[in-house]
């Protein structure tokens, strides 16, 4: 019975091919937008979560408060200094603490000038290991040459980006090349595998000492990174560090010019921002779905007017009101669902395109489209519902037609 209705509905949709297509466009633009936005948002959230898991739940960061325009720690309005790092080091529950500089520099190679960043590794072995872990540049990540050793002076390692995507007028960096960093020749001793974090991948990684000398920044600290004792209560340690730093920097509670965050908090901040952005975009997409729904309603309403006679015939040969209602509902639901299915395919294609072009042009693996099954299924059910709901009123009108009235045409 239902399959018969489905066939009847399909017949009348294919009879009005052009109009069916036009109606579906409204739906599939909306669904395509929702699918691609959610899948990209979800993918980005996954990527960020992964990045922060590297930071680890047992670490805290201290950074100056303010608007960051570059990588974390590059804010120059308020400075963290060597003495602040010492305060963190001495704080209760902190085992290792280190400072990380991320500074803008001018690089020259192959007669080509570029502005990029230099990131530092500390000399102390424990601190060095922690930074390498967090940045995801471990010894086994070196694909060519060697790891930067403590004590290396005018030497650096760079990511594969400088090999795969030549940034100096089409010329690769290879082990042994010398790049002038703010005028000082620095030798590339190793290439590390891409980390996926765009800031790390674009930075020259050097030892702290030579960078301080080169840029003449004896005491400034960028981002302070600290390891918390195993099993310690994170929030309590954060409080202790905050208290010590307030005292040292002589600021009142609530007026801190610095911020102590756990990896989890940083992650939450990113998630919230991303969530809001996604919600706004999905909201816009939802409006387009609404418009699509109205399109279906309009089409179905016209169909009812046009097909009064057909409805009259159906009723004369024994179709009950509910049969006519069901028939029209299936027809409009089908329009919605078909539109939804096309929309899902378009959305997936679009997300993949964004993913591929982002990877190719920005060199970041941060944008990975992700298609959870509930997104696909949900979109299908939703578009069917939009279609059916939009068809309800016209279908109800169709079912109410008196057979005599309908036949008199």
């Amino acid at each position: 019975m239902l399959s018969e209705y489905l066939r009847l509905a399909t017949r009348s949709l294919t009879r009005r091919k052009l109009r069916s297509w036009l109606t579906m466009i409204g739906i599939f633009i909306g669904i395509a937008a929702v699918v691609s936005l959610i899948s990209l948002g979800q993918g980005m959230q996954n990527a960020i979560t992964e990045q922060f898991f590297q930071l680890g739940a047992d670490k805290i960061t201290v950074a100056t408060k303010g608007v960051e325009t570059g990588p974390p720690g590059s804010n120059n309005d308020v400075l963290l200094q060597e003495s602040d790092l010492d305060v963190v080091r001495r704080a209760n529950g902190i085992t290792v603490a280190t400072g990380r500089l991320v500074e803008p520099i001018r690089a020259e190679f192959n007669d080509k000038e570029r502005f990029t960043y230099v990131a530092t590794l500390p000399d102390d072995m424990d601190e060095r290991t922690m930074v390498k872990e967090v940045a995801n540049v471990m010894d086994e990540d070196i694909v060519q040459g060697r790891m930067l050793k403590a004590g290396d002076t005018w030497k650096m390692i760079v990511s594969e980006d400088y090999v795969n995507d030549p940034k100096f007028d089409g010329k690769n960096l290879v082990v042994g090349n010398k790049v002038r960093v703010n005028g000082q020749p620095v030798e590339v001793v190793g290439i590390f595998a891409k980390t996926g974090n765009p800031f790390v991948d674009m930075s020259f990684v050097m030892n702290e000492e030579p960078v301080r000398n080169l840029l003449d920044i004896p005491v400034k600290q960028g981002l302070i990174l600290a390891q918390v004792e195993q099993g310690a209560d994170m929030s309590r340690i954060v409080e202790i560090v905050e208290k010590d730093l307030r005292k040292h920097r002589n600021v009142d509670k609530g007026e801190e010019d610095f911020e102590v965050q756990t990896g989890e908090e940083l992650l939450d901040t990113f998630r919230t921002v991303l969530g809001v952005v996604t919600a706004v975009l999905v909201g816009i997409a939802a409006i387009s779905l609404l418009v699509g729904g109205i399109g279906i309603m309009n089409t179905m309403y016209t169909a009812v007017l046009e097909r009064r006679k057909e409805i009259g015939i159906l009723k004369a040969i024994g179709a009950r009101n509910e049969d006519v209602l069901l028939l029209f509902l299936i027809e409009s639901g089908l329009l919605g669902m078909l539109g939804g299915a096309i929309g899902i395919l378009l959305g997936i294609a679009f997300s993949k395109l964004v993913e591929v072009s982002a990877t190719a042009s920005l060199g970041t693996t941060l944008i990975q489209a992700h298609f959870p099954w509930y997104l696909i299924l949900g979109s299908l059910v939703f578009s069917f519902t939009v279609g059916a709901l939009a068809g309800t009123y016209p279908a109800w009108q169709a079912s109410k037609l008196q057979p005599v009235e309908a036949l008199r045409q």
Binding site: R11, K315, G318, A319
Partner: protein, 230 residues
């Protein structure tokens, strides 16, 4: 000879339409009985209330006053859905303009009323094929109405009317849209159906030559039966 069963009975049926400020009486106390197995034709000039009478007999419309009984049941007591169900079961319609569904093939058109009566797929196929052969369209099963001639379309419509084995066939000017030769063959077919299968037929026509094919004729004028012929 056993007493014939009454299939449809109209008792003092009035139908009044309001047109602007005027009340137009399409039917003024129509009394009519249709017996099982008879071939009745209702004749009348245009404006005599033929079509309204037809709609009443076919339970497509509800009288303003008076009662319509379908196999003894007053249709006023039925819900709209029940009425549709019973109409689909007991009455087969043949219209002047054929009224086939254009998107469906001949066979599918015939199967349509059976869907609403809950026939199984197999029953629908078998019955539709049987009926198409009966109306000599066995070769045209998968043709759409617009690929068939007028006479062929009307034969499909007749087959559709017979699909659920109704108690009565109602034909509204069945030859009105056909040339006289094709119209004649459609009439021959209806007569054959009546003679060989004993199908009850009620036909409305303004054409005396067509109406004469019936066993019994009623003459309608100004919404009333006026006299009997034959």
């Amino acid at each position: 000879m056993k007493k014939a069963k009454t299939i449809i009975k109209l008792k003092d049926v009035w139908k009044t339409y309001t047109m602007g400020e005027n009340q137009v009486h399409a039917l003024r106390g129509l009394d009519l009985e249709v017996q099982e197995g008879e071939f009745l034709s209702i004749m009348g000039p245009s404006g005599s209330g033929k079509s309204t009478a037809m709609n009443m007999i076919g339970c497509l419309d509800i009288p303003s006053k008076g009662q319509v009984y379908l196999e003894g049941t007053n249709i006023a007591d039925l819900s709209e859905s029940d009425l549709a169900q019973i109409r689909g079961q007991k009455i087969g319609f043949i219209f002047q303009k054929f009224n086939l569904i254009n998107t469906l093939t001949a066979k599918e058109n015939i199967m349509l009323p059976m869907i609403f009566q809950g026939y199984t797929e197999q029953e629908r196929h078998d019955q539709a094929e049987k009926l198409l052969k009966l109306v000599d369209l066995g070769e045209r099963m998968d043709h759409r109405p617009n690929e068939l001639s007028g006479g062929q379309q009307q034969r499909v419509a007749i087959a559709r009317a017979l699909a659920v084995d109704p108690s009565v066939i109602l034909a509204d000017e069945p030859t009105g849209n056909l040339d006289s030769k094709t119209g004649g063959s459609v009439m021959d077919f209806l007569k054959k159906l009546h003679k060989e299968k004993g199908t009850t037929i009620v036909m409305v026509s303004h054409d005396q030559h067509v109406a004469k094919h019936a066993d019994r004729m009623e003459f309608l004028r100004d919404g009333q039966i006026v006299k009997k012929i034959k």
